[in-house]
């Protein structure tokens, strides 16, 4: 396998180095590009021009900002917990970097074709919580601590619908390997047509998992200064941000691979060398489309309250994903040859959920209003008249 007659063991080490450097290159440049897109898209939506002065169309603005961040003094408040404070950005960053190992960029272009690729990705996603909780704890700051704890509650809760949505796709395809999942959806036979409800629930849970709007409560600046980021500055703060953009990329890549056919697209089989490269282009284009959807949502939707966030997860997403999993599994057992019954059931359930949400919301609001009018809770009264 080793090229140029190299020692296979040396090639293993060298390949690992190349892969890690390639992933770091991708992550940092991806973050720079995404910050630029984010500014431009928000500017367009808010009827502004965004960055224009540095470089053509303001393209070099994020590079200038990155150099500024690198040059900043590394400040650490005296009463912070030294080692935890220093370790937290690394604990958030490294799992995100490791996720890139299993992403199927093109046919045969994947770092490690793990049989359990999807499980590996969810595992790394769960490690981020630890870093954020430690960041909040080590900062020795009330806002940071609340941000860190909120984040832990949010991430652990939303992991449940996220994993349940992924499992439905795994059931339909019959494999945890990302390359097998991509191979199973050639041409227009993408999984979105079979499992639209799982896609919607995964996308919502993915928004929450990456701390993006409208679920960015751990760093809600209107209530918590900057949440767990409050005490961080310079490149440590930058590392948190690079990690967040990297996670957005990973979630978009998972969506692309699982529901939108991954690297499949027109003209990928025209040439033995150019075809796979074109596949990489398709994969990147689809992934960045979802990255842009993330930004569009950020510019459009207001932030939720923490109790709304939790009730959305536990009262809507988890029951819906559990039902979806049960129905999908039953239909796979009943009709092992055809995906059409699953598709029909899934589209029907999606329509049902979308139709039921406004009615449920009205009922909930009416109940809340009724309770407030008839029986005021003790907490409200004591807050108004202390003593």
């Amino acid at each position: 396998m080793a090229p140029f007659g190299m020692d296979p063991a040396a090639w293993t080490v060298l390949r690992l180095l190349i892969a890690i450097l390639g992933a770091i290159f991708l992550v940092f440049n991806g973050a720079l590009a995404q910050i630029y897109f984010e500014r431009k898209i928000q500017a367009i939506i808010q009827d502004r021009v965004g960055p224009i002065h540095t470089g053509p169309w303001g393209l070099l603005q994020t590079f200038a900002d990155a150099i500024k961040l690198l040059g900043k003094e590394d400040i650490r408040a005296r009463l912070t917990d030294r080692w935890f404070f220093l370790a937290a950005p690394a604990i958030v960053f490294s799992p995100m970097l490791a996720s890139f190992a299993v992403l199927p960029f093109g046919p045969g272009i994947v770092g490690a074709d793990l049989n359990i690729g999807l499980l590996y990705l969810t595992t790394l996603g769960s490690m981020t919580v630890l870093g954020i909780v430690i960041a909040g704890w080590a900062s020795n700051n009330k806002y940071s601590l609340i941000g860190g704890l909120r984040s832990a509650g949010q991430l652990i809760s939303y992991e449940v619908p996220q994993i349940l949505s992924l499992v439905t796709v795994v059931l339909v395809v019959g494999s945890l390997s990302l390359t097998h999942i991509v191979d199973a959806q050639p041409g227009l036979k993408i999984n979105l047509l079979i499992l639209p409800l799982a896609f919607v629930t995964y996308f919502i849970a993915g928004l929450a998992e990456t701390n993006r709007n409208p679920f960015d409560l751990p760093e809600a600046e209107s209530e918590l200064v900057a949440g767990f980021l409050t005490e961080y500055s310079g490149m440590r703060w930058g590392l948190f941000f690079v990690a967040e953009y990297g996670e957005v990329t990973v979630v978009s890549a998972i969506v692309t691979a699982l529901w939108f056919g991954g690297w499949h697209g027109p003209f990928t089989d025209v040439h033995p060398v150019l075809g796979p490269l074109l596949g990489v282009l398709w994969f990147t284009a689809k992934t960045y489309f979802f990255v842009l959807v993330f930004m569009w949502i950020r510019a459009t939707l207001p932030r939720l309250r923490i109790d709304q966030l939790m009730s959305l997860c536990w009262k809507l997403l988890i029951p819906v994903t559990l039902t979806n999993l049960l129905v999908t599994a039953a239909l796979i057992l009943a009709f092992p040859q055809s995906h059409i019954p699953i598709a029909v059931a899934n589209w029907a359930m999606l329509a049902l959920v979308i139709a039921a949400v406004p009615a449920l919301q009205r009922r909930r609001l009416a109940a809340l209003r009724h309770r407030l009018e008839t029986r005021r809770p003790a907490a409200f009264i004591s807050a108004e008249r202390p003593g």
Binding site: A9, V13, S126, I134, L149, A152, I156, L176
Partner: protein
């Protein structure tokens, strides 16, 4: 340079990580640092599972122990009022009792480790997944379900215990 040397070197590093981390958990006075070192120990053990070809178990190890249990312990630490502890936990009076419990277990584990020879190796890249699934969901399905029902009962009991009466 060959793969054997790399594997042995990795195993040595992971062993140092596991033993050092575990010793740190017991010896260090600060409970948050102990929790973090425990996560580190679990990570090193996951690395050992990968070396043995059991990637799935390694993934579950990280998912459950690093991602969930450690966060739970950190939560517990943060919400527990901490009194000042002037002495290291190591020098507490439990040491003789702990030694009494640890020595027989250590002897048993050592005997097991040195008599166990037939270590079947799973195919690399998550090849242990079918074997694991078969044993959990077919061979040991009943104990697995019993354990899950037991956990559910414990959870319901905990919720009943902590629920306030005024609602």
């Amino acid at each position: 340079m060959s793969f054997d040397i790399i594997q042995t070197a990795l195993f040595a590093l992971l062993t140092i990580g596991v033993i050092g981390g575990a010793a740190g958990v017991v010896l260090i006075n600060r409970i948050t640092a102990a929790a973090l070192l425990m996560a580190f120990t679990f990570l090193c053990m996951a690395g050992m599972f990968v070396l043995l070809g059991a990637e799935t178990i390694a993934a579950f190890q990280v998912l459950i122990y690093v991602g969930a249990i450690t966060v739970l312990i950190l939560y517990g630490v943060m919400f527990t009022p901490q009194r000042e502890r002037p002495y290291a936990l190591f020098f507490q009076k439990q040491t003789p009792l702990a030694a009494l419990v640890v020595v027989p277990i250590a002897i048993a584990v050592a005997l097991l480790a040195f008599t166990f020879r037939d270590g079947g190796k799973a195919a690399a890249g998550g090849g242990d997944l079918p074997a694991l699934a078969t044993s959990v969901f077919r061979d040991f399905a009943f104990p697995f379900e019993v354990a899950s029902v037991l956990l559910l009962a414990a959870m319901v009991g905990a919720i009943v215990l902590v629920r306030r009466d005024d609602e």
